[in-house]
């Protein structure tokens, strides 16, 4: 008998363990089967057709050939990965700094922890409306204050130019994602045994040394899994870009998910849109696989299980 299974006596009664387990899981599997797996298969099928609102016929690989032959598509892929890497790195760095600050033993800490919650718990669309106003050139606080202090000579529309729109979206995305990352890191930091810190402190280790050699390695598992989850969510982040810029100006913020939405829902080209959706799934799958493989290597190298 393995250590994890229940006593033999219990196992004999009623359903076998395996059947019982599958009975418990089945509802969730069936639900996801209908709402996620079936549409996924349907997406793959549609990607080989030229489906639109009324008709569809089989066109083989032509949607994919079109994609691979367009330089614009590769620009979009590049932009999407740049978007993901930059935004996730910022979320992790700002989140780590935030969690460290919020775990510092200073009066008012409980209040500060509450105050970082709002961007996470409100609808993303509503936070974006706030940012829409912040970025407004005529009436927004950033442009307005910059003019007051003489940093800008006139109104500056942050969302009207390719580069500034892209980085504005990044900032908003980091704003939406940071509270959750901070809270997960904070929770992980609180799980680290105080004995470790005390032992290090007695040995004369400074604060920075303790952070680097105890905190970071101890919460590494959370950092690693948060990074992957955050990367996937950021890659597919839709609401933020759609509300702030709708992918513009001139494609400056068109990531793969925005491109897919525009093609499929905006222009009713279901077939071509599906091919783009499949491309997202393939790229994300490859990315996750690569990430997990590298992680495994690193873990083995350091002898961590």
């Amino acid at each position: 008998m393995t250590e994890t299974s229940l006593p033999a006596k219990a196992r004999r009664r009623g359903l076998s363990e395996a059947w019982f387990a599958w009975a418990l899981i089945f509802p969730a599997v069936a639900f996801i089967g209908v709402i996620v797996a079936w549409p996924l298969l349907e997406t793959i099928r549609l990607s080989f057709t030229n489906a639109d609102m009324n008709s569809e016929s089989w066109v083989g690989l032509s949607n994919y050939q079109k994609l691979l032959g367009s330089t614009k598509f590769f620009t979009i892929i590049g932009l999407t990965f740049y978007w993901m890497v930059l935004s996730v790195s910022l979320k992790l760095i700002v989140g780590l700094i935030g969690a460290t600050l919020l775990s510092a033993a200073v009066p008012g800490r409980a209040l500060f922890r509450m105050l970082i919650m709002p961007p996470w718990v409100i609808p993303i669309a509503i936070g974006c409306i706030g940012w829409l106003w912040v970025y407004n050139g005529q009436f927004g606080i950033v442009s307005g204050m910059a003019q007051r202090f003489g940093l800008l000579s006139g109104p500056f529309e942050f969302l009207a130019y390719k580069n500034s729109a892209f980085y504005s979206c990044i900032i908003t995305d980091v704003w939406v994602g940071t509270p959750m990352v901070s809270l997960f890191f904070l929770a992980a930091m609180q799980g680290v045994s105080r004995d470790l810190y005390e032992a290090a402190w007695v040995d004369g280790a400074g604060r920075w040394y303790r952070f680097r050699r105890i905190t970071i390695p101890q919460i590494m598992p959370v950092i690693v899994s948060m990074a992957l989850l955050s990367a996937i969510w950021t890659f597919n982040s839709f609401d933020i870009i759609w509300i702030l810029t709708q992918g513009g100006p001139r494609g400056g913020t068109t990531t793969m998910i925005i491109d897919t939405y525009k093609t499929a829902i905006g222009n009713f080209k279901f077939g071509e849109g599906s091919a783009r959706a499949v491309a997202i799934v393939i790229l994300l799958g490859l990315f996750s696989l690569l990430y997990l493989t590298l992680l495994n290597r690193v873990n083995k190298f350091y002898g961590v299980k």
């Binding site: 009623g14 599958w22 996924l40 200073v106 509503i126 959706a277």
Partner: protein, 281 residues
């Protein structure tokens, strides 16, 4: 404790850094609040002025007239998120228990498949999902927003709750078995009561997910104004001849206030609770 003592400069540094961090986090809310208090004439004043003596709560009154369904939108948001949370938990609890406690074939593969669902957010599968909703004749109903929400939250829910259930001592269940309790009875009467703190944390996380991400499904699957959640309904302030920005901000802040207050109270449990799910040994 001596180890945690800071000298005065370190304290100043920490507070300054927290101030910068919180400014970034709260800036849009401050700006929304300021906008909601300003009369339109001040908002469009040029050159830019941060402060005015004309601040008033007029917009909080006018918004109900400008968008009569506003109250409905706020309730819709909460209703949809609550339904999503309840349904998700019904699917998540048994599955998470199976993954935490039982041994069965395809265990790790099926768990991996669940987690892979995270890769297909609603936006990727929108086209066929639209057709599924059409086939089930759920378009333009509350269900068209609830059902996809549930599907995409189940995997994270299972993952979080599993971490919790693994922490519950196994001996208690074994004692119940020895006393002749059935599996279902043990799950209901022994495991679930012990897992209440975990259930709260997972439930709250699911609610946050459901509440925060209603926009896409709402604008795609639902055209009925009466069913729109706040995130989509707010855009009614745009699209008339002029945009009443102050009323829009007032409506946004009023709409999120009840939920924010609830979360401020739950925050303590959340931070403590996430530890159990997120960190394993």
């Amino acid at each position: 404790m001596l180890m945690d003592r800071y000298n005065i400069w370190q304290k100043i540094g920490i507070y300054a850094a927290i101030l910068v961090f919180l400014t970034f986090i709260l800036l849009p809310f401050v700006e929304m609040f300021r906008t909601s208090l300003s009369p339109m004439s001040h908002l469009f004043h040029s050159p830019y002025e941060f402060w005015t003596t004309e601040f008033s709560f007029q917009a909080y009154h006018d918004m109900w007239i400008k968008v009569p369904l506003l109250g409905r939108y706020i309730l819709n948001s909460i209703y949809v998120a609550t339904m999503v949370t309840v349904l998700t938990m019904i699917f998540v609890i048994p599955a998470a228990y199976a993954y935490a406690r039982l041994e069965f074939p395809f265990k790790s593969i099926s768990l991996g498949a669940f987690l892979a669902v995270n890769m297909f957010t609603g936006a990727v599968l929108l086209i066929p999902l639209y057709r599924v909703m059409q086939t089930l004749s759920l378009l333009n109903t509350y269900w068209s927003m609830i059902i996809p929400g549930v599907a995409f939250l189940i995997p994270t829910g299972i993952w979080l709750l599993r971490g919790y259930l693994e922490k519950i001592p196994r001996e208690l269940e074994e004692a119940a078995f020895v006393d002749g309790a059935s599996r279902i009875y043990t799950l209901r009467r022994v495991v679930l009561p012990l897992a209440v703190p975990g259930l709260i944390v997972v439930g709250v996380s699911v609610f946050i997910g459901a509440y925060a991400q209603q926009y896409l499904f709402a604008i795609t699957f639902n055209q009925v104004r009466e069913y729109q959640p706040l995130a989509a309904g707010l855009f009614e302030f745009i699209g008339y001849q002029s945009v009443e920005w102050n009323q829009m901000m007032a409506a946004a802040l009023t709409g999120i206030l009840p939920v924010i207050i609830v979360f401020l109270f739950l925050q303590k449990y959340l931070v403590a609770g996430l530890t159990a799910g997120a960190v394993k040994e």
